[in-house]
């Protein structure tokens, strides 16, 4: 996030796009409600009628994967109505002329043809967003999980820069991160191209620094992303895999392919707190301790570093993952001995400039937002205040590209995916919580009444959903919360997991798979199929 969570409640306008905020980030949704109580306008762009849409001033339902056309249409209106922030554009950005050229192709009527949002709604959204003193954009995976996910994010950055909504309070482009420590896992270098603090592995100076710090020879070759790893496992050039606290069988697209890839490994080691479907394929499974059984830190979506504290002893013989890694590494021949997580954190602070000023002592008083470079640095809740990281903010002129897989005769509907309120990701934690499980004990597919009647489906009938990659039999819920032509499923339920169907096609830059759109057909399940 460019800005902090508490600032949201003072925004004059909030634009939520591709985020089911009240479901995926309930405590951020409550900030939005508070902002509305103070008079803020709320715009929601989402193909489904999500809960946030009920209290929105405008809800637009864009076609799946058409966000660039919608955002370009909004920006076209802002320019034609002269609502852009000229001093901000002059002083702090570059590339405006190229953007202006491309936006000429997206008058609201033309954008409307692509994204399915009426032209008059595009105009209202543009006016509402651009006329606010401070406007904050919130987005999640509805924006990023596309083969043009990077284009979507850059388009939102264009919109914010065009209206000067960056670098000041209650504005910004704010991705709400879906997992407690996805920010931290990235910060710590859990990515194939960077060491901790996003320092490139290809940069020789950086590599020398880490070679000195770790007393080792390091590779300057960018590694493989998850989807590439799965491909290489199947093809045989990757032979072994170590998985810590992840369940790729449930969370990656095209589950049958992932299962086959992991089964091809000569050696698969999984560390987890439950016997997940990934762990079931392993040669060795090591029992980890849960968050309540260890000390450490998480970094949240607003870059705040927070303490995790041990409340109880680990169950059975389970051990914290940091302790397991030290032991495994030592036996492997690379001795690692750390007395406590605090000692590890001190090493992190030494090699991670953005965490350089942090320590357990300082965090004892409460969370601190990185960058925090020295022990007396107060932390940084708002990024890009006076300048952008690269100097001037760069506009990207972006044309709309359709999703990889559009519906056709054989697969006439489009599937999109997401979460439900009582569950989380692949359900390994929430389905082991009796209270949450009882809120929603099984999965289902949402289908619009028009499509259902054409297919002869009634509420709670068993439906068979088929894509080019697999099929799932699950209960049909007939609802007009979804648009005709679209269906919706979650990936919480292994026995009815949307990821059997989803498309592993990747964004060329971020390598994110296109979870949010794929072509499917739905049939009424035969009795025998429904019984499985």
């Amino acid at each position: 996030m460019t800005n902090s969570i508490p600032e949201i409640e003072d925004a004059e306008c909030i634009f939520i796009i591709g985020s089911n905020t009240s479901v995926a980030h309930p405590l951020i949704a409550s900030r939005v409600y508070r902002a509305q109580a103070k008079g803020a306008k709320l715009i929601v762009a989402d193909p489904r009628k999500i809960q946030m849409a009920y209290t929105a001033d405008i809800h637009v339902k864009q076609n799946l994967g058409s966000d660039v056309a919608l955002i370009n249409g909004i920006m076209n209106v802002i320019l034609s109505k002269d609502l852009h922030d000229k001093p901000f554009i002059d002083e702090r950005t570059e590339g405006f002329e190229q953007l202006r050229e491309v936006l000429k192709n997206y008058p609201p009527e033309k954008a409307s043809e692509i994204c399915g949002v009426p032209a008059e709604d595009i105009i209202r959204v543009a006016e509402m967003y651009a006329q606010a003193e401070s406007a904050s954009i919130l987005y999640t995976m509805g924006i990023t999980q596309h083969t043009h996910g990077v284009d979507n994010v850059k388009s939102l950055a264009n919109l914010a820069m065009l209206t000067g909504n960056l670098g000041k309070r209650s504005t910004g482009v704010n991705p709400l991160r879906g997992q407690n420590n996805v920010q931290g896992a990235c910060d710590m270098g859990g990515l194939p191209n960077v060491f901790p603090a996003y320092q490139a592995v290809t940069d020789e100076g950086v590599r020398n620094k880490f070679q000195d710090a770790w007393q080792a020879q390091l590779s300057g070759k960018v590694g493989k992303t998850i989807m590439e790893m799965m491909h290489d496992l199947e093809e045989g050039s990757i032979k072994g895999m170590v998985v810590m606290g992840e369940n790729p069988v449930g969370s990656d697209p095209d589950m049958n392919h992932v299962r086959h890839a992991l089964s091809s490994a000569e050696f698969l080691l999984v560390m987890d707190i439950f016997l997940t479907d990934t762990a079931k394929l392993a040669h060795v499974v090591l029992p980890g301790a849960s968050f309540a059984e260890k000390d450490g830190t998480f970094s949240n979506t607003e870059r705040n570093v927070l303490r995790v504290r041990k409340a109880v002893e680990p169950v059975g013989d389970s051990r914290p993952d940091w302790d397991i890694i030290c032991d495994l590494s030592t036996r492997f021949g690379l001795p690692m001995s750390y007395g406590s997580p605090s000692e590890i954190f001190d090493e992190i602070a030494k090699v991670t400039p953005s965490y350089g000023g942090l320590s357990y002592d300082r965090l004892e008083k409460g969370p601190i937002a990185w960058p925090c470079t020295t022990p007396d640095h107060p932390g940084t809740p708002v990024l890009h205040k006076d300048r952008f990281t690269r100097g001037k903010g760069l506009f990207h002129a972006i044309e709309y590209r359709p999703p990889e897989e559009m519906s056709d005769e054989e697969f006439p509907l489009q599937l999109t995916t997401g979460r439900y309120f009582p569950h989380y990701h692949t359900g390994t934690m929430t389905r082991n919580s009796p209270t949450l499980h009882s809120e929603m004990p099984e999965g289902h597919v949402e289908i619009h009444p028009e499509d259902a009647s054409r297919l002869g489906l009634k509420n709670y009938d068993m439906a068979k959903v088929v894509s080019r990659r697999g099929e799932v039999v699950t209960k049909a819920i007939i609802t007009d919360l979804i648009q005709p032509g679209n269906i919706f499923m979650s990936f919480h339920f292994m026995e009815a997991n949307a990821n059997v169907l989803t498309n592993p096609a990747l964004d060329p830059i971020s390598k994110i798979p296109e979870y949010k759109v794929c072509a499917v057909r739905v049939e009424k399940a035969e009795l025998a199929e429904a019984a499985i």
């Binding site: 980030h25 405590l27 709400l176 879906g178 997992q179 407690n180 420590n181 920010q183 896992a185 990515l191 060491f195 080792a216 590779s219 590694g223 790893m229 990757i238 072994g240 170590v242 998985v243 810590m244 606290g245 992840e246 969370s251 990656d252 080691l269 707190i273 439950f274 016997l275 060795v284 499974v285 090591l286 980890g288 849960s290 968050f291 309540a292 260890k294 998480f298 970094s299 979506t301 927070l306 409340a311 109880v312 169950v315 059975g316 013989d317 389970s318 914290p320 940091w322 890694i325 690692m336 750390y338 997580p341 090493e347 969370p367 309120f421 989380y424 919580s433 949450l436 809120e439 390598k511």
Partner: protein, 135 residues
């Protein structure tokens, strides 16, 4: 009766709500929201309020497992770690570090993520490390 409250951070979404885990005689029995954290200010969502339930679930893994004759069977830590370390070493020696891949975790702590990528990069000389940031 020994009643204790431990201030910690929620393990579900990226909001970073702080909570008090309630323990009675060493057992986790409840969760309360932190009132002093500026993020959640005394509130939690339904997942947060019930976070203690999965921690001591009977389905938790409590012992290392090794696949023998096609089935995962309980093993000692020594046996499991020695076997895992030797298999990783064999593969590295036979095919090089780039023949191994590592998935780190958006659910684990910063300290664990740091050590895991260090193990991968230093131990195997490869940058084949990723996690589900995109998923």
């Amino acid at each position: 009766m020994d009643l204790k409250f431990t201030r910690t951070t929620c393990p579900y979404c990226g909001c970073g709500c702080e909570m008090l885990l309630e323990t009675m005689d060493g057992k986790l029995v409840g969760t309360l929201p932190s009132k002093t954290n500026p993020m959640n200010q005394g509130k939690l969502c339904i997942k947060g309020w019930n976070v203690h339930e999965f921690v001591q679930s009977p389905n938790r893994l409590t012992k290392p497992l090794i696949r023998k004759n096609g089935e995962l069977q309980e093993a000692s830590w020594d046996e499991a770690l020695d076997f895992a370390a030797s298999r990783l070493k064999e593969i590295k020696d036979a095919h090089g570090g780039d023949s191994l891949a590592f998935l780190t975790s958006a659910k684990c702590t910063n300290e664990e993520n740091y050590l895991f990528q260090k193990f991968c990069r230093v131990g195997f000389g490869t940058n084949n490390i990723d996690h589900c940031a995109r998923l």
